[in-house]
């Protein structure tokens, strides 16, 4: 009985931690949506949302409420079960990945040894939400959107994988906290700068952000895989997408920008708690995401595939060979000196 009791207690603690992750994430998504629209507007010399609440801050919650009260329209010829499961999968997977993200030294829900592989696995599952949505809608535009998205995500996952390998060779561990701690002397975006660029662009493609938002290119495919969705399922897709974007920003921060570490380890800077640095860096990367959306035109599909397979794949493969050679011959690899 005692074992069961302690197990139940453990379960309740885990659920409490999950809520502790989920609520800030939700606030983060709302702010990210708002920031995205504001930055986009500023680049185009518009005002952006400015009516609801102070500075238009309540625009996103107001939109959300509107979607919640709208009717969920199920297309007559859709595969209804798969149609409704798809957005749930998208949102659940995007939240699940946050379980291993360390926001500060020791502050992480699951400090697992294969953290980076876990994130890679979860983000490779993300394509199923889109594929299922596109197929279950039983309509031409969503289907094309889903096919494009699947091909795109599988292609760019390859180069993301190789970039992660180069970083891992410098760290010697798959644990995300140890990846951050390995950057105590120098953040990896300085020695691995080309890989930082490759990762950033691949992250844009992986999250279907402009200029790689071909799966939902409104000029060709209406709204891609989301065309038939309305009401709450649509909101789930929207939130899943933005949580994924924030996840990719967090991944860039952890892999290249030193996670929760301050820029220099001196007094006034290292007195600030780590999660503040983490949030600041994630915000900076998200700002770059938003700026790219504002001023880069959309790619053509063959250009997208060319960039993924003919430019990034050889480049990242070369980087793997080069990095491992340098680490080996100069005896810099972890555990070699």
């Amino acid at each position: 009985m005692d074992v069961l009791q302690s197990n139940i207690f453990e379960l309740i603690t885990i659920i409490f931690y999950c809520i502790l992750i989920f609520i800030p994430l939700l606030v983060g998504v709302v702010l990210a949506l708002y920031a995205d629209r504001k930055i986009w507007a500023a680049v185009q010399k518009r005002r952006g949302p400015n009516v609801v609440g102070p500075f238009g801050l309540f625009q996103v919650p107001a939109d959300g409420l509107k979607f919640i009260f709208k009717e969920i329209i199920l297309p007559d010829s859709a595969d209804k079960t798969v149609f409704l499961i798809a957005p749930i999968i998208t949102l659940a997977l995007s939240i699940a990945a946050w379980a291993v993200i360390p926001v500060q030294a020791g502050v992480v829900l699951a400090n697992i040894n294969v953290g980076i592989l876990y994130i890679f696995a979860i983000s490779s599952l993300g394509v199923y939400g889109i594929l299922m949505a596109g197929w279950a809608s039983n309509s031409k535009y969503p289907f094309f959107g889903a096919l494009r998205s699947a091909a795109q995500m599988v292609s760019y996952e390859v180069s993301i994988g190789f970039v992660i390998v180069t970083v891992l060779m410098c760290v010697g561990s798959l644990n995300l906290s140890e990846i951050v701690l390995a950057q105590k002397n120098i953040w990896f975006f300085i020695p691995l700068f080309p890989m930082f660029i490759v990762f950033f662009i691949s992250a844009l493609a992986e999250t279907n952000r402009p200029p790689f938002d071909l799966p939902e290119a409104e000029s060709e495919l209406v709204a891609g895989y989301q065309t038939e969705y309305s009401g709450m399922p649509f909101v789930l897709f929207l939130f899943g997408e933005y949580i994924n974007i924030l996840l990719m920003c967090a991944m860039t921060t952890i892999l290249f920008l030193g996670g929760w570490l301050p820029p220099i380890d001196v007094y006034p800077l290292n007195a600030i708690p780590g999660f503040v640095w983490f949030i600041l860096k994630v915000t900076l990367v998200f700002y770059m995401f938003a700026m790219v959306k504002a001023f880069v035109p959309r790619y053509r599909y063959d250009q997208l595939m060319r960039l993924g397979w003919k430019v990034f794949l050889p480049l990242s493969l070369l980087a793997v060979v080069l990095t491992s050679s340098i680490l080996f011959f100069f005896k810099l690899a972890p555990g070699m000196s």
């Binding site: 294969v114 490779s124 599952l125 394509v127 199923y128 096919l147």
Partner: protein
């Protein structure tokens, strides 16, 4: 009953049920989706066995790459017309044969371990100090030392398969215009600067 045992029963029962659904649903897309569910639950069982590296690789390789392409192909098939014609009995003999082979293998393995399920030892145990190593380190230290030849060979086999499939599908079609980016960007010899005299124009 501990939570890990409970989760084991949860994962394994979902695994068995979804594998059953893979072969019993009429819709091919549904069966691929159930196959993915089965993969995920197998990965869950790996995690319970503390083989987290294998679990993640299973998800990344099979669910993230292989099953996506599988689903990709199945979704584009026009399966509605072929549904009624299918005769289950047609594939029965070969299915039974494969099933028998699998059952025979399982029985052989179980007899060799003498059904002592409380103390299953891995048949060949090349690592002595497994407990103080992480999963990834342990696999790497075996794979790149004792089994480096087999590892490289399997890589070569995959490479041959890849090259083979590219050669089989590659064909030259006539009249296809390809974008050559270097040619497009390079304007040397393609632009001419001409001084135009007022009122005379230029010949093109």
């Amino acid at each position: 009953m501990s939570i890990s045992l409970l989760t084991f029963y949860l994962f394994s029962s979902i695994l068995l049920l979804s594998s059953l659904m893979v072969i019993s649903t009429k819709n091919p897309v549904h069966s691929v989706l159930f196959l993915i569910l089965a993969f995920l639950n197998a990965a869950g069982i790996f995690v319970i066995l503390h083989a987290e590296f294998l679990a993640m690789i299973l998800i990344i390789v099979y669910v993230g790459a292989v099953a996506v392409l599988f689903l990709f192909v199945v979704m584009m098939l026009d399966f509605k017309t072929s549904l009624e014609k299918d005769n289950i009995l047609q594939y029965m003999p070969i299915g039974l044969l494969i099933g028998l082979v699998f059952i025979a293998e399982l029985v052989i393995v179980l007899i060799n371990t003498r059904l002592d399920l409380s103390n299953i030892q891995i048949l060949s145990n090349p690592l002595d100090n497994f407990s103080d190593q992480s999963n990834t380190e342990a696999i790497g230290s075996i794979l790149y030392t004792n089994y480096v030849l087999y590892f490289q060979l399997s890589g070569v086999i995959l490479l041959v398969a890849m090259v083979g499939s590219i050669v089989l599908t590659l064909r030259d079609r006539e009249g296809v215009k390809r974008q050559i980016v270097s040619e497009q960007v390079d304007r040397k010899g393609k632009i001419e600067l001409v001084d135009v005299k007022s009122g005379e124009g230029v010949d093109i």
